[in-house]
């Protein structure tokens, strides 16, 4: 994708609130943006290091809980006599706490699985997500368990002109999601298009060879896990301050699946893949909602997924890229043929 196209897309996204007037449409866009950020973070692990994290929602949920708890304040009874108290903190501070805590969890999972790959990595991540969900469900003193954390302050709290109506709060949320999304995209892009990214791809393509030329694969796997987890945590924090209620259901497996589908269908290991996948699977359910019963809707959703995986196993973006390359080659070829046959004709005429 060339630079001009990128800037045009950014400009388009920035000007969306100029013509979008409907609260519901904002809601769809914001949720889509949040999950696309999640998908982007997953793509760093799955697409570039080749490790499938099926517990990715754990980082998302940890981000959501951390940001909520820090902004609401909490107290933690550590011993009989000592209680650790955190007063409510500003939302921006809570957001950074979410980044750090989920990043640390990513480091932990990355370290834990330093010698497991493939199926075993998948199992480690699933288990991690399940453990975190159980903690969130049962540590009622801290997380309120199934009663959920309520009244989480919105992102824009404290900014006067944004506290007015529900619509402008949505606009603020939209811009926050957009900003975080752009930063996340930039971070991932710079990482994967550098020496670091090559090391990650080397791990995916041929781990033994990577080691033999001096790539410390564990280091780069851990680095990818930290970055990926922190970005997923950011998405979770955005989610928490947007819907303003967080319960253990944020750890549902279906959210991980949604992110995996976005990455796989869009094209794993490409920068644009998760964006395209996020666009399709973020908007599609909303588009079909008006015309179909929920049951039919899920069937259509599933069928589309199967079709994409069946016909475009590499994902949409690589397929489009390949189609474009073939088309260009054919065009060059036919141009050459025409000029060649012209030349021949001239020779015959002579």
């Amino acid at each position: 994708m060339n630079t001009l196209a990128k800037w045009l897309i950014v400009a388009f996204l920035v000007t969306v609130p100029l013509w979008l007037g409907n609260q519901y449409q904002y809601h769809v866009l914001i949720m889509m943006g949040i999950f696309t950020i999640g998908a982007m973070s997953l793509n760093l692990l799955l697409g570039y290091t080749g490790q499938l994290s099926l517990g990715h929602v754990a980082f998302f949920g940890i981000g959501a809980y951390t940001s909520s708890l820090v902004s609401l304040g909490f107290d933690l009874q550590l011993t009989d006599s000592y209680t650790f108290v955190v007063e409510p903190k500003p939302v921006w501070f809570a957001f950074f706490c979410a980044l750090i805590v989920s990043g640390l969890c990513g480091w932990f999972v990355g370290k834990l699985s330093f010698r497991v790959r493939g199926a075993y990595f998948v199992i480690v991540t699933i288990s991690f997500a399940e453990v975190v969900r159980l903690v969130a469900l049962n540590w009622v003193d801290l997380t309120e368990g199934p009663m959920a954390l309520n009244n989480i302050p919105p992102l824009a709290s404290g900014v006067p002109w944004m506290e007015a109506g529900a619509l402008s709060r949505r606009v603020a949320n939209y811009y926050m999601v957009l900003a975080v999304g752009l930063v996340a995209f930039l971070i991932i892009q710079r990482l994967v298009q550098s020496r670091v990214g090559r090391a990650m791809i080397a791990l995916r393509e041929n781990e033994s060879l990577a080691k033999s030329v001096g790539v410390d694969v564990t280091r780069y796997l851990v680095l990818a896990a930290i970055t990926s987890a922190a970005i997923a945590g950011a998405a979770g924090a955005l989610y928490a301050h947007y819907v303003r209620i967080v319960d253990p259901d944020v750890f549902l497996f279906i959210y991980t699946v949604t992110m995996v589908i976005m990455v796989i269908s869009g094209g794993k290991g490409t920068l644009a893949g998760p964006l395209v996948g996020g666009l399709i699977f973020g908007i599609l359910p909303e588009l079909t909602r008006g015309h179909m019963l929920p049951e039919v809707q899920w069937i259509v959703y599933g069928a589309l997924m199967i079709l994409i995986v069946f016909f475009l196993p590499q994902g949409i973006v690589p397929a489009v890229q390949r189609g474009w390359a073939t088309w260009q080659k054919r065009r060059d070829q036919s141009a050459r043929d025409t000029s060649a046959s012209n030349g021949r004709r001239q020779e015959v005429a002579r």
Binding site: I187, R190, L191, S194, R195, V196, R198, A199, I201, A202, E205, N206, S208, L209, A210, K211, S212, V213, G214, V215, D216, V217, L223
Partner: protein, 268 residues
């Protein structure tokens, strides 16, 4: 045919020493007791019938396998217990018996991965895309193109590595290893599967590598190549070293002939 100059042995310094190496897989003894050394700038071939333990020895030296007993040292530094990437950092870089490239990457990107050790941009510099990072990236790309020209794959740089012909993939493997700037290159059957022309070109390339002052430890079945390029040949049989000496001497060694060369017409 001598492809490179043999300097007098007295001026050479021993770089790699393998002392009383033993490798057991459970009850199976892959290497029972092997000691040999490689001097700086030498081309040493490790030969022996299939299953003699050559690749096992390679795996131990390069850190992919732990030795049951014995010491491997490079330039006075003990390698036992180091991870493969640390051993690569020490200057020992290996290739693999089975063709091993980054198949879904372009040829030039394969080399760029091989050049990993030559970059040193920190993660923050990378994220900020500082001028230093850009310069380094540019320098690496030029170095990669140079290496491709050196092995004669310059015209293929934008193809996918997996789409190359077999012989070219084997060349690429060596190029990736060279990119990692080895002082000792461990080549595991690099000419296996090459046609005679490719093998001849490869032999010339080995000569070029020798001229770059890179020490080479070679495992190879192509006797014509082994006898042509080696300064010294180490013969392994049933996990034991049965001979160690210059090619001409090895060819006359009755035990080697019995174990290895005795069953057919002499090749060299």
């Amino acid at each position: 045919m001598t492809l490179h100059m043999t300097t007098p042995a007295t001026t050479r310094q021993t770089v790699l020493t393998v002392d009383n190496l033993a490798v057991h897989f459970g009850g199976l003894v892959a290497i029972s007791d092997a000691s040999f050394k490689v001097d700086e700038g030498e081309v040493v071939s490790l030969i022996g019938p299939n299953g003699a333990g050559k690749t096992t020895a390679f795996n131990v030296i390069s850190g992919f396998l732990a030795a049951t007993k014995g010491v491997v040292a490079y330039k006075g530094r003990r390698l036992n217990g180091l991870k493969p990437h640390q051993i690569a950092d020490a200057g020992l870089v290996r290739t693999f018996q089975k063709t091993s490239v980054f198949g879904n990457d372009t040829v030039i990107d394969n080399i760029m991965i091989g050049l990993h050790r030559r970059g040193d941009a920190s993660i923050w510099q990378t994220l900020l895309l500082t001028p230093k990072v850009r310069r380094q990236e540019q320098a690496l790309r030029e170095a990669a193109a140079e290496i491709l020209d050196f092995v004669g794959l310059g015209h293929r740089s934008n193809e996918l590595a997996g789409a190359l012909a077999y012989g070219e993939q084997r060349l690429l493997e060596v190029a990736v290893a060279l990119a990692a700037k080895p002082s000792l290159l461990l080549l595991d059957e690099p000419a296996c599967g090459m046609n005679p022309t490719e093998a001849l070109n490869f032999r010339n390339l080995l000569g070029e590598i020798g001229r770059k002052k890179i020490t080479v430890l070679l495992v190879e079945h192509n006797m014509r190549m082994v006898m042509g390029v080696s300064d010294r040949v180490v013969v392994l049989n049933h996990g034991r070293i049965i001979a160690d000496g210059p090619p001409t001497e090895i060819q006359q060694n009755p035990e080697v002939i019995r174990a290895y060369l005795g069953h057919g017409p002499k090749h060299a």
